[in-house]
Structures are given as C-alpha cells and as structure tokens.
C-alpha cells in the first residue's frame, strides 16, 4: 500500500567509508557499489522504504568531513543539505551514520550537523567491532541527545532496527538538536569528554598488519606479488570454465547448423550471433576472476594502503595521491573512474587524472588480450611455476600503468600545480571479505557483461554481419565473398593507414565497431573469419584461426595498440560532461590514437627485426 502523501525525505550522511552505502543497500534493497575505502559514492542516490503507514525516501549522499566542502563530491552533499540545488527542497530529516571504530573523529561531523536544526537519527555502525564496555547506543544517545540505533552494515539483518525506526518516523517524529545555536567545536569537545574518547579506539590487529603492509620496502614488494598472482590466476583458473563455455557454444553452433536450412538466416545466426556475440561471452570467466580479486582486496581494506604505497610514485609524476581510487576504478571501466575524480579538489589534478584514467586497462580490453595471448603465446610454465601467458597479461597491464604515469608526467609539465596536494585518507580497519559482497559484486558484473553482450554487442554483430555479407560477390569472383562486401571494401580502403603497423583489412574492420565497445573486436573477428571460411566450427576456434593467419609481429602490434587505443564513445561522452569541454574529449581521443599508433608501430618493427614475418 502506498500513501497519497509525498514520501518523507531522509538524507543519509556520514564521513567517507563509514558504511553509508552498505546500510543504504540493506534499507532499500538497492545494489549500490560498496567498498572498504573512502570516496566510493560520488553521486546522490535514492531508494524507498514502504509500509502501511507511509513511505520514506532515503537519499544516499557522498561522504563529507564537515559542512565546508573541499571536493566536488562533498559540495554535492552540502548543496543538497542547504537547499542550494535548483528545483529541489532540502531534506526534512537527517540520518547520520557513525563508524564506531572512528567515533572520536566522526562526532565532529555530528556536532556540525546539529547546527542545521533538523530532526536527526544516528546509526551507530560497525557495532560488531565495538567494545560494549566503551560505547553503546544508549550511552551515545544520553550524551548527544539524539536517538541512536545500532547497526552492522555487513550483516543481512544489520539494519532491521534502523529500518523499523525510519518507518515509524512517519508517525513518531525524530528528535531535533537540543541547542542548535551552540558552537559545534564546543559541543564536540563536550561529547568527547563525556564519552571518554580521549584516544581512538584501538584496532591493534590492523596496526600490526600495517607494519608489514606499509613497510617502505616490503609493502611495495607485497603489492607487486599480489598483482602478479592476480594475473596468473586470471589465466590459469579460468581455463576450465572457458573450455566449458566453448564446448556449449560449439554444440549450439552445430545444432543450429543442423536445424536451420542453408540460407541467410542460418548465416546470420551461426556466423553473426554465435560466432560474434558468443565468442565475446567466452571471456566471462576471466573477467569475473579479475573482479573477484579486486572485490576481495577492496573489501578487506588493502586498497587504500596501496594508495599510500604509491603516493610517492604518483606525486613524482605530478599526480595527486587522491588519483589512486579513480585510477583503480578505471580497471573495471573508465567511466566510473572518471566520475570518481570528483573526490579530487584541485581542478588541474582532476583534469590530468581524467586524461590518463582511460589508459588503465578496462575489463573490455581483457577479451582482446586473452584472445591474442591464447593464440600466440605458448601456454608453458617458466621457472618457479610462473605461467608465461599470465606473465604477458601482467606486462600488458603494467604497460598501461606506465603509459598513464608517463602521460601524467608530461601533462603536469604543461599545467603547473598551484599548490602541493598531499594525500590525506582515512585507513579503514582490515576485515575478512564479506562473501555476500563478493557474490553480489560478481553477480552484478555478470549481469553487466551479459547485458552488454545481449544488447549493444549483439546489435553491433548483426550490423557487422550485414556489412560483411552484402553486396554479394560478382559472377566469377575468385576471392572469399566477404572481400567484396561493404566491410571488406571499407577495410581495404582504410588499409593504407594501418598497413605500416602490420594490420590486415580484417583487423581494420574490427577496429571501427570497437569504438562503440572494445570487446566487439573479438566478435567481429569471429564473424569475419567465419564468413571468410567454410567451416562453421570457426565460430568457436577463433584463436587457432588467427594464429595461422597472422604473423607474430602483427599480433604483438595489435596488443600494443590496445594498451593505448582510443576509448569507447561512452567514455568520451563522459569526459565531455565532466570537463564541460568538447575540446578535452577530442584531445583525449587524438592523443590516445597517436600513442596507440606509435606503440603499435614500434612494436611491429621491433618484432619484425627479431622474428621476421
């Protein structure tokens, strides 16, 4: 049942990484991204709680430390709270989330929010890690005068009491601050003294671990080992699952070839859909494995430590330490990475981070890498059990990072910093990954990937099939029919541009729809070779087909191209929106094209010299 009255609006506030989004998901059933580091939420999101009494709109906002915003994401929250967003009223009630393990610092925000003179409900979060002898909801409520509810954001039932209280707020109003005009600093000091929070609650296990993890020598070594093992596992562990998907695709392809009569429909389904979109689906296990590692690392609290380890290196190339999280997000996709740059207060630092974020290897590039590595790099074990294919993948990811840092260094020479931006980030406590978060994260990635394959990629593959099938070859044609098609003609027309870097017309044809979605390159190659060949099983054995058709220098040049290749159109559109500059988008596309071309040219000619054609 829904109320005819507009829903009561509750703004969810708190310091970064206090667990707001985890509670928001529990309260509203939403699936917002959550992680164990600050700055994950950079936009406002809303969800609804419904009961027979009425409806409550819960608004999740980016974290903030005070009401004086220093970054664009903090400004979103403060503008919303103070009613400075055009056409939108400020929220009537506040839900302030406090992390009990960092209570001393976070009370400062509660004291500041008390000055807004709005009804407040406090969620005392992470109570599973609190010492009941030191702090309880009742004790905090008695001192601050606000109603306090205990929550555990990592448990499925951890927000049940909070949910009930929010719904009850339709009938039973929340408490307003007793003395809103008091100086927040004096109020804060009074609370800290009354609660006996003269020191931060000790998290000794995390501190002990940090002696190793943040060690100047062992810390970077540990980081390198973790990243190296991740890429080894991506190649080794995914193989059985990929073979399984490959066998299913082969079976589907055979069945369709048998069932459907020969003609254009069979060609479209077998060569366009299965050989195209189906081939992209093959790489789902590798993408999921990569994300499993990223989710476990971010949930455990390790990633912000990695940001600290890399801070010196990043400042050396002119980057702010705050650029780490946007760059890390870009390994999934450049778009959330670019949005995450809102946490960078300095405009110059933010622009440089936006320009280099697309050089981080996004997950859409993984299918291309995996196909080429599988086709050209032998699956052999080197010394100490190191898999050669995994090693090459690690090198490709490293090249992307090195390229990004190199470009940051160059850009920072042109745009001098106005002031030194030091990294200040709250280190969360370590905890074991929550398997529900891992399962949810992997499920979301699966849905995103399957939706892409079943949506844009499938449509692009159908378009590529049409372009590769028409017009029909003339009478007496001697070459494969596809070479007379629109796609074949377009590839041949553009070939002079790409011939110096070793690309054939098939690759050129694949690069164009790859601008819409990078993994389409794999699908286009599947369709082009399926239409160019005679056997339908080409659709599920693309790797050996290209291994016999291309030279090693060509394959290496294509890998080098994809390390730096121009971004998909969606990324360029987001860059335009975030920088409010079309010039910036065009500059990004142009410099990436030049960089990719240069890298491919150097790689091709270097490989030619060593291996020949």
């Amino acid at each position: 049942m829904t109320s005819i009255f507009p829903p009561a609006r509750v703004a969810m506030l708190g310091s970064p990484n206090c667990g707001k989004s985890a509670l928001f998901n529990l309260l509203t059933g939403a699936n917002q991204k959550i992680a164990n580091y600050a700055g994950v939420t950079v936009e406002r999101k809303s969800g609804f709680l419904k009961s027979s009494k009425g409806m409550v709109e819960v608004i999740d906002l980016p974290g903030l430390y005070s009401l004086n915003p220093r970054t664009p994401d903090e400004a979103i929250t403060v503008n919303f709270l103070t009613g400075q967003v055009a056409g939108e009223a400020p929220p009537e009630r506040l839900l302030v989330v406090l992390d009990v393990t960092h209570l001393q610092r976070q009370l400062r925000l509660l004291a500041a929010l008390a000055s807004l003179d709005k009804p407040v409900l406090v969620a005392l979060n992470m109570m599973d890690r609190a010492n009941p002898a030191q702090i309880t909801a009742a004790k905090l409520s008695a001192v601050t005068g606000f109603e306090v509810v205990e929550t555990i954001g990592v448990r499925a039932d951890g927000a049940a009491a909070l949910q009930q209280r929010l719904l009850a707020s339709c009938d039973r109003p929340l408490d307003k601050p007793a003395s809103p005009t008091r100086d927040p600093q004096a109020l804060y000091q009074e609370w800290v003294d009354a609660l006996g929070l003269t020191h931060v609650l000790a998290v000794t296990r995390s501190e002990r671990l940090d002696r190793l993890v943040l060690h100047p020598l062992w810390g970077p070594c540990l980081l390198a080992v973790i990243l190296f093992l991740t890429f080894q596992a991506v190649f080794s562990w995914a193989q059985p699952f990929m073979h399984g998907i490959s066998a299913v695709l082969a079976m589907v392809s055979d069945l369709l070839t048998t069932w459907l009569p020969e003609g254009p429909v069979r060609s479209l389904v077998v060569n366009g859909v299965v050989a195209g979109a189906g081939t992209v689906l093959l790489f789902l296990p590798q993408i999921l494995l990569l994300f499993a590692f990223i989710i476990v690392l971010e949930d455990s609290g390790y990633l912000p430590r990695a940001a600290f380890l890399l801070d010196r290196l990043m400042s050396g190339v002119g980057l702010s330490g705050r650029a780490f999280i946007p760059l890390l997000s870009s390994f999934a996709c450049a778009i959330p990475g670019i949005l995450a740059t809102r946490t960078i207060p300095d405009q110059r630092d933010r622009t440089i981070t936006i320009l280099i974020a697309p050089l981080m290897t996004c997950s859409a590039r993984l299918p291309v890498y995996a196909l080429l590595i599988g086709a050209f790099i032998p699956n052999q074990t080197l010394a100490y059990g190191i898999n050669l294919q995994g090693l090459v993948l690690f090198i490709l990811y490293t090249l992307g990072i090195v390229g990004a840092f190199g470009m940051a260094f160059i850009f920072s020479r042109f745009r001098k910093a106005q002031a030194t931006q030091s990294l200040s980030m709250e280190l969360p406590s370590y905890h074991w990954p929550v398997w529900r978060h891992l399962a949810l994260g992997l499920w979301q990635r699966t849905l995103i990937f399957v939706n892409r394959v079943g949506g844009t990629i499938l449509l692009l593959m159908i378009a590529v099939w049409f372009l590769s099938s028409f017009p029909a070859p003339p009478a007496g044609a001697t070459q494969a029919p596809i070479e007379y098609s629109f796609a074949g003609q377009l590839g041949t027309w553009l070939l002079p541009v790409f011939k110096p870097i070793g690309f054939g017309w098939q690759i050129v044809v694949a690069l164009i729809p790859g601008l819409a979605a990078r993994e389409v390159v794999v699908g286009v190659l599947g369709t082009v070779y399926a239409l160019g060949g005679s056997a339908s099983d080409i659709s599920v054995s693309l790797a050996p087909m290209i291994a016999s058709s291309w030279t090693l220098p060509t394959a290496l040049a294509l890998l080098a191209w994809y390390v730096y290749a121009p971004q998909c159109l969606s990324t360029l559109a987001v860059v335009r929106r975030e920088t409010n500059s079309l010039k910036m988008s065009l500059f990004l596309a142009a410099y990436q094209f030049a960089l990719a071309y240069l890298a491919a040219w150097l790689t091709y000619h270097w490989a030619l010299r060593y291996w020949g054609l």
């Binding site: 009569p261 003609g263 254009p264 844009t456 449509l459 159908i462 378009a463 049409f466 159109l569």
Partner: protein, 61 residues
C-alpha cells in the same frame, strides 16, 4: 527462401533502429524528435528519445 530474406530484413531494420537509439547522443536524439514532431507517432518519438524529458514536446517525453 523469400521467408528467410523477410526475417533477415526485419532483424536488420529493428537492429539498426535499436543500435542508433543506443549510440546517437541524447541531444541529437532530442533534436531529431523535435523535427519529427507531428510527422511520426508520438510513441515512436518517446522511444527514440529514451523517455528523458525535454519539457517542450507534447506529449511530454
């Protein structure tokens, strides 16, 4: 065989429309929807714009 060509043609037309709707930027889609105001069914224009309102058209999309 004519049935096969009919199916393939229909798939081609629908796919081209869906692909264009996904790839053409929103501002361009709105411009085209304005130009087609009164010339094509409103439901088609609403689908084309993607149900994001510009506030000027009737019915509102």
């Amino acid at each position: 065989m004519w049935l096969q060509w009919a199916i393939v043609s229909a798939v081609g037309v629908v796919s081209a429309g869906l692909l264009a709707q996904r790839l053409v930027p929103l501002s361009w889609r709105i411009t085209l929807a304005h130009k087609l105001n009164g010339k094509v069914p409103d439901r088609l224009r609403i689908w084309w714009v993607g149900r994001v309102g510009c506030g000027d058209c009737a019915p509102k999309h």
